[in-house]
Amino acid sequence: MLALYLRDVKLGFRAGSGALTGVLFFLAVVTVIPFGVGPDLNLLARIGPAILWIGALLASLLGLDRLFQADREDGSLDLLLGAQDRHMLALTVLVKCLAHWTTAVLPLVIVTPLLGLFMNVPPIGLAAAMLTLLIGTPAITFIGAVGAALTVALPRGGLLVSVIILPLTIPVLIFGVAASRGAVAEPDPFLPPFLILSALTLFFAVIGPAAAALSLRGAAD
């Protein structure tokens, strides 16, 4: 399992396309917003955490369709499926998700403070946005694994993955934004939405890989 994780992480970083493109896309989305809503710093500070969350959500959708497709093309998916009597398939999917998260989503979380500065978010808001993204984005990857597994056999499933999983990620977005706003705006609490966000991540860490494994098995035979 560790070997699989290291392999996927290496592939993700070395393939050149993955991590950097996601970060660039995130940057582009966040940069476009002030052009749309106007460069009013107060307004940007208020909607900043939400923009960061939406940007990160969209950017983390980018590489999802390749999660299993690349492995299917070079045949290693069949090997992983063949080894399911030794390693539970859901566990394999979980490890692949974690590797994908490390390579494609973690860089997004790391650049969040920089982009938050553009949005004029106060320091404590930056810390909150980063923390909520760190806790919440794995849930997006786990949900995305289901979409990726469902569309693994499709030649151009990329858009379909986003369409399928975006409605499911709405709860994550709601509580992530609520928590990061709660840290800045005084009357709103920070802890309750943050705990719900953590619960969502744990919940999808179970549901996502299990459903993805089920549909991968279905796609194979």
Partner: protein, 256 residues
């Protein structure tokens, strides 16, 4: 008796039997649906006006059944998804695939009638409150399922994929149901299915229930028709493949 019932149930699993049964039932269900709907709509117009809302309250008699059916249809699709995954019932997938567009239309109608009702009552076409948002998410889920079932043309493969997606999306149904209790929203809380009995006056409750039954029958009729069409479509595709294969074989045989 019980064994007999089980055998009958497995008999329906045979698509040909199902086609026959559905074909003979359909006219009756259509008739019952139209009668109940006519009676329900008549009663809706005979029902008293609301003291605050005036005559716009009549939108309720179609809005509420649409919303109920949107959820009922998804619940049924989730049950079909279980049928596909657990029992590999051949009709479960047909049921899921043909119910999705109908459910999407009912959800869209619930949203549309709701916003037509909301404009005079709340002063706005749309608010992002919990109930409206979760129903909108339901609509998006229907569209996602439709997109997925249409993207894969191999029925057996698309069956599993759609079933898994439907089951994952089922999380949304309890959220819709309890959204008005969990969050303090503009949409009113439940007033019919409550533990302490309905809080709606009987003079409005009866037309509402009859309309709901009528729309449910209509849904049933549409669903059966769609299932029949889907079975026929699959047969036509299978026959086309057979004839294409036969046409390919012939020149080879002639060359021999």
């Amino acid at each position: 008796m019980n064994e007999k019932a089980v055998r009958r149930w497995t008999d329906i699993a045979n698509p040909t039997r199902f086609l026959e049964l559905a074909g003979s039932l359909l006219p009756w269900i259509w008739g019952a649906a139209l009668l109940t709907l006519g009676a329900g709509l008549f009663m809706a117009f005979a029902a008293p006006e609301d003291y605050q809302q005036g005559t716009t309250v009549r939108i309720m008699y179609i809005h509420v059944p649409f919303a109920w059916l949107a959820m009922l249809c998804y619940t049924m699709m989730a049950a079909s998804a279980l049928g596909t995954l657990v029992w590999r019932h051949p009709l479960a997938d047909v049921s899921l695939k043909s119910a999705a567009p109908i459910g999407a239309v009912f959800t869209a109608l619930a949203l549309a009638t709701g916003s037509i009702w909301g404009k005079p009552m709340w002063g706005t076409w749309w608010v992002w409150d919990a109930r409206l948002t979760s129903v909108f998410v339901l609509f998006l889920m229907y569209l996602g399922i439709i997109a997925l079932t249409r993207a894969l043309d191999e029925p057996s493969r698309s069956a599993r994929a759609a079933a898994i997606l439907t089951l994952v999306g089922f999380i949304n149904i309890p959220i819709i149901k309890f959204s008005v209790d969990w969050w303090n929203t503009l949409h009113q809380p439940a007033s019919v299915f409550r533990l302490d009995g309905p809080t709606i006056d009987p003079s409005m409750l009866w037309p509402l229930l009859i309309c709901a039954i009528g729309f449910t029958l209509l849904f049933l009729a549409l669903h059966l028709m769609a299932m029949r069409t889907e079975i026929w479509r699959r047969r036509v595709i299978a026959m086309r493949r057979l004839s294409a294969r036969a046409a390919e074989m012939k020149p080879v045989e002639a060359a021999r």
